[in-house]
């Protein structure tokens, strides 16, 4: 049964993931037996180069980070389309090529736009 | 020339409006002259029509039919024509409007707009009286709405905005009901005859055809007729749809009040006779009692309220309501004289109420008050104005020799002669209506007594009397009233055959 093979492959994936979880859990549990445990306030305080931590650390980020995130979302999702296209290009022929090139051209235009708008400049 | 004369008449004022539009604001006198000239030409044309009207022929004259809009299942025609019913009203419209324009020379602000709107209004009113296609009728009916809204709203008195909106919404609602009814009639007609038309004449035939009982059941006809009645009742106005009228009349500028009372109300009565009775004669007779009772209520209610008014213009406004009741009673009698009385009343009230409003306006212009108790002794300070006011009041009361008398007399003859099948309690109704007439005499005479006679207030001593220009509307309107009063044949000549036509449908 073809579906069987198909799913077997994913059983690999699941096993790997479970093992991946098991290792840190096991190691940390095992480590508990070995390691000392002597917490006190000073030790548990946040590290801030030795001085008293000041204010909340979860501060606002510079807006550039958001913009990078947005750019990423756009371009990353665009690649979602490029993968199937790339795979099937052999059969799609010229029609497929034209479509893809238009797509990439628009993508490139978007990139040029953000470039020109200085979104890509850090600071 | 004669063939297209109605079209010319209807759209002439519109052309005048366009001409005025091109004149700069500052040239007030030029604008006034154009408006006057236009209205006078319109008057002239209407008189030509009057002269050429074949008094002996039944049916429509000067008819014209042009296909206008064709939307597949919906054909609209530009179908116009007049008969004895619309002829007098056409002349009434041109006369009152022309005289109202004379009366409006005192308006100084935004003259251009005023005359543009007046001209548009004139087109609308004339259109209503000549339209034979119901859709066209509706269009013209609506066309009167916007100009009047503006005229009341811009040039009106203190409460002008309230009054204009009340006018807009009431009459708008009336139009909506009318429109819905028209469309339903259109569909029912199409269902019955297979031919989709808005033509009043064709529809009248379709609806009169007894071969269409399944589609046009008595219930459907009754509903349609009542809906039409409500629609026109707003305009006429019939109690309880009358509340817009006092506001609108009181707040409107003199000229607009004249047109409003003189012509606009007549559109309601005209519509009722033309479409309501014309297409649903059987239903009209069926509801004759209802119409008559409403008419009586109108008469009494209007008169009673007029009795307690302190504001002269308001009093005149309520007298209009009262007088319109007579139209209803006249129609409800379904006799030749009753119907004639109704039409006579429409015309005669057009002249008289216009005159009354003009007089009130003229007095107000001088004394700056309309409160009855503050006036007094006007006959001493402004004898000519007081005289004409008195004459107008007398005409309104129905003094013999004036038009009011003729119409009331005809209506009463009609009521008392009505067949018992159609109008059961005719005599009672007649008597109660008669009481209403007495009340009319009471409030008008009382008001006259308090305003024109009595001791003269010192502050009114130096008031100027009628200006030459004011003589034109005064004499004109009173003249027509007297003319009809002493020579009613001039009108009944024209009306007669049409009235008989209408009555013949009732099968009486």
């Amino acid at each position: 049964m073809e579906l069987g093979v198909y799913f077997t492959n994913y059983i690999y994936v699941i096993v790997f993931m479970l093992l991946g979880v098991a290792l840190p859990v096991g190691a940390l549990t095992f480590g508990r037996l070995l390691r000392p445990n002597n917490p006190y306030d000073r030790k548990l305080s946040t590290y801030e180069s030795g001085i008293e931590p000041e204010g909340d650390a979860q501060v606002r980020f510079h807006v550039a980070y958001y913009i990078v995130a947005l750019e990423f979302v756009i371009f990353d999702v665009e690649t979602v389309f490029l993968y199937p296209w790339a795979m099937a290009l052999g059969e799609l022929g010229w029609v497929g090529l034209n479509g893809g090139l238009i797509f990439i051209a628009i993508l490139g235009l978007g990139l040029a736009y953000s470039w020109k708008k200085k979104v890509l400049e850090w600071n | 020339m004669i063939a297209n004369i109605l079209t010319l008449l209807v759209f002439l004022p519109l052309a005048g409006a366009l001409l005025i539009f091109t004149i700069p604001n500052e040239n007030k006198n030029v604008i006034r002259s154009i408006a006057t000239a236009t209205s006078l030409v319109a008057l002239l044309i209407s008189l030509i029509v009057w002269a050429n009207f074949d008094r002996g022929a039944s049916g429509l004259q000067f008819a014209q039919l042009v296909q206008w809009i064709d939307i597949g299942f919906l054909q609209l025609n530009y179908e116009i024509g007049i008969d004895g019913l619309s002829m007098p009203l056409l002349v009434l419209t041109t006369v009152v409007t022309a005289l109202a324009i004379f009366a409006s020379f005192s308006i100084e602000n935004r003259v251009k707009e005023f005359y543009i709107w007046t001209m548009v209004l004139l087109t609308g009113m004339l259109g209503v009286f000549v339209a034979l296609d119901m859709f066209l009728f509706f269009l013209f009916f609506e066309l009167t709405l916007i100009p009047m809204f503006f005229i009341i709203g811009i040039w009106g008195g203190k409460e002008k905005v309230y009054a204009s909106f009340k006018f807009l919404v009431y009459t708008g609602l009336g139009s909506a009901v009318m429109f819905i009814t028209f469309i339903v009639m259109f569909f029912k007609g199409a269902q019955a005859s297979g031919e989709a038309t808005f033509s009043m004449i064709q529809l009248a035939e379709v609806f009169a055809n007894p071969a269409n009982p399944e589609v046009l059941t008595s219930g459907v006809r009754a509903a349609l007729f009542l809906a039409l009645f409500v629609a026109f009742a707003v305009k006429l106005p019939v109690f309880p749809f009358h509340t817009w009228l006092p506001n609108a009349h009181v707040e409107a500028p003199t000229a607009a009040s004249m047109i409003l009372a003189g012509v606009l109300l007549k559109m309601g009565g005209y519509g009722l006779i033309r479409i309501g009775v014309g297409i649903f004669p059987d239903q009209a007779t069926r509801f004759a009692l209802l119409i008559a009772i409403l008419g009586v209520v109108n008469i009494i209610y209007g008169a009673l309220l007029a009795l307690v008014q302190t504001d002269l213009k308001r009093l005149v406004a309520f007298s209009s309501i009262s007088h319109m009741g007579i139209v209803l009673v006249g129609i409800a009698s379904f006799t030749a004289s009753g119907m004639q009385g109704a039409i006579f009343q429409l015309v005669s009230h057009g002249f008289i109420s216009a005159l009354l409003f003009f007089m009130v306006g003229a007095i107000y212009e001088r004394t700056k008050t309309r409160t009855i108790s503050e006036l007094g002794g006007l006959s001493k300070s402004v004898p000519v104005l007081a005289g004409f006011t008195l004459a107008a009041a007398m005409a309104s009361v129905g003094l013999p020799g004036l038009s009011g008398f003729v119409s009331e007399l005809l209506a009463f003859i009609g009521v008392f002669g009505a067949s018992a099948e159609i109008l059961p309690a005719a005599k009672t109704i007649g008597v109660i209506a008669g009481i209403g007439i007495i009340l009319t005499a009471a409030y008008l005479l009382w008001a006259m007594q308090r305003t024109t006679f009595g001791p003269m207030d010192e502050k009114y001593s130096g008031l100027p009397d009628a200006r030459p220009l004011e003589y034109i509307p005064m004499i004109g309107l009173l003249g027509f009233s007297i003319l009809i009063g002493v020579y009613p044949n001039i009108l009944s000549d024209v009306i007669n055959i049409t009235v008989l036509d209408i009555l013949s449908k009732i099968g009486g």
Partner: protein, 319 residues
């Protein structure tokens, strides 16, 4: 029955990876040491072979500190989230013609998809620590990783166009078929891939998120003991994975002269890449953050797009 084999395969691979990471770290320290003309670790065991093991033991016995200000649940979860995907990637790597785990038809996509989850672990770690350095480090790290992920992903598309499949084995078979490693027709893609891979791995010269001089230790400042170890482990496992991917995509996977078995060729090529990473670290200074971001967006992405266009045209042209 199958399941047992699968588990066995996974366990063996895990063991191998742990060993590989252990010695990769040693390898790195040695390589850099020699390059800087010093011996590197040499006290524990012959040539310092036991150095990393000692380090691991030390980490295992370190006290486990979770700062009071930290968001405890996320803090505990973060290293696991960072490690699991980097290990799960290996489920699909084909070591040789016959040694492979999941033979996924979407292998490359799986690789890319799973590997980007690691970023989440980094972000969670940085954020949950409630420490300014950690947060800044994490944010910077994420910004860098996602910026370079795009050219990385785009560069692979060139290969996909040529091969017409996302399966790792198909990719290698294709190279066998045309008798050429894809590094030759896809040289541009290879360059883009290499550079973005370095940034993806947060390795020098793009190791800004961990810039000790500026941010103490980046996102894992507050992590200690084995929690810290798992971040490090994830990093190295990921480095191996990227090397394995590069090997498959560009260097013909297990292909090589027949005197050595395929898997050995594969591992050798992987080691070459590993060495390359370490070499760079010893050689190049750290890049400036604005240069870094600008480079990715303004140079690598256009280059990758250009590569796709050229490859696509050639592919269709050739039929």
């Amino acid at each position: 029955m199958d399941l047992i084999w699968i588990i066995l395969y996974a366990v063996i691979l895990l063991g191998a990876l742990l060993g590989a990471v252990t010695y990769a770290i040693l390898f790195e320290r040695k390589v850099i040491g020699y390059m800087q003309v010093r011996p590197g670790p040499n006290r524990h065991g012959p040539w310092g072979l036991l150095q990393t093991i000692a380090d691991v033991m030390k980490l295992l016995m370190k006290e486990d500190i979770i700062p009071t200000a930290a968001d405890k649940k996320v803090f505990i979860l973060a290293p696991v989230i960072a490690f699991v995907p980097s290990f799960a990637i290996f489920a699909t790597i084909a070591w040789s013609e016959n040694i492979y785990g999941a033979d996924l038809n979407i292998g490359v996509l799986y690789f890319i998809g799973i590997s980007s989850i690691t970023t989440l672990g980094v972000l969670m770690g940085g954020w949950s620590s409630n420490n300014k350095y950690s947060l800044l480090g994490a944010i910077r790290g994420v910004a860098q990783v996602i910026s370079y992920e795009i050219p990385l992903v785009l560069s692979i598309i060139g290969v996909v166009i040529l091969v017409g499949s996302l399966n790792f084995r198909d990719i290698v078979f294709y190279q066998q078929e045309i008798g050429m490693w894809l590094i030759i027709p896809q040289f541009l893609a290879f360059i883009v891939y290499m550079i973005s891979a370095i940034a993806e791995l947060n390795r020098s010269p793009f190791d800004l998120p961990e810039a000790e001089s500026e941010l103490v230790s980046g996102y894992h400042t507050e992590f200690s003991g084995f929690r810290f170890a798992f971040f490090m482990l994830a990093e190295y496992v990921y480095a191996i994975a990227i090397s394995a991917l590069a090997t498959t995509l560009f260097l013909g996977g297990w292909l090589g002269p027949a005197f050595l078995p395929g898997i050995v060729w594969f591992l050798l090529k992987m080691c070459l890449f590993m060495f390359f990473w370490f070499w760079l670290r010893a050689t190049l200074p750290r890049a400036r953050v604005d240069h870094l971001m600008g480079f990715g967006w303004k140079v690598l992405i256009p280059l990758a797009l250009l590569n796709i266009v050229i490859t696509a045209i050639i592919k269709v042209w050739m039929g």
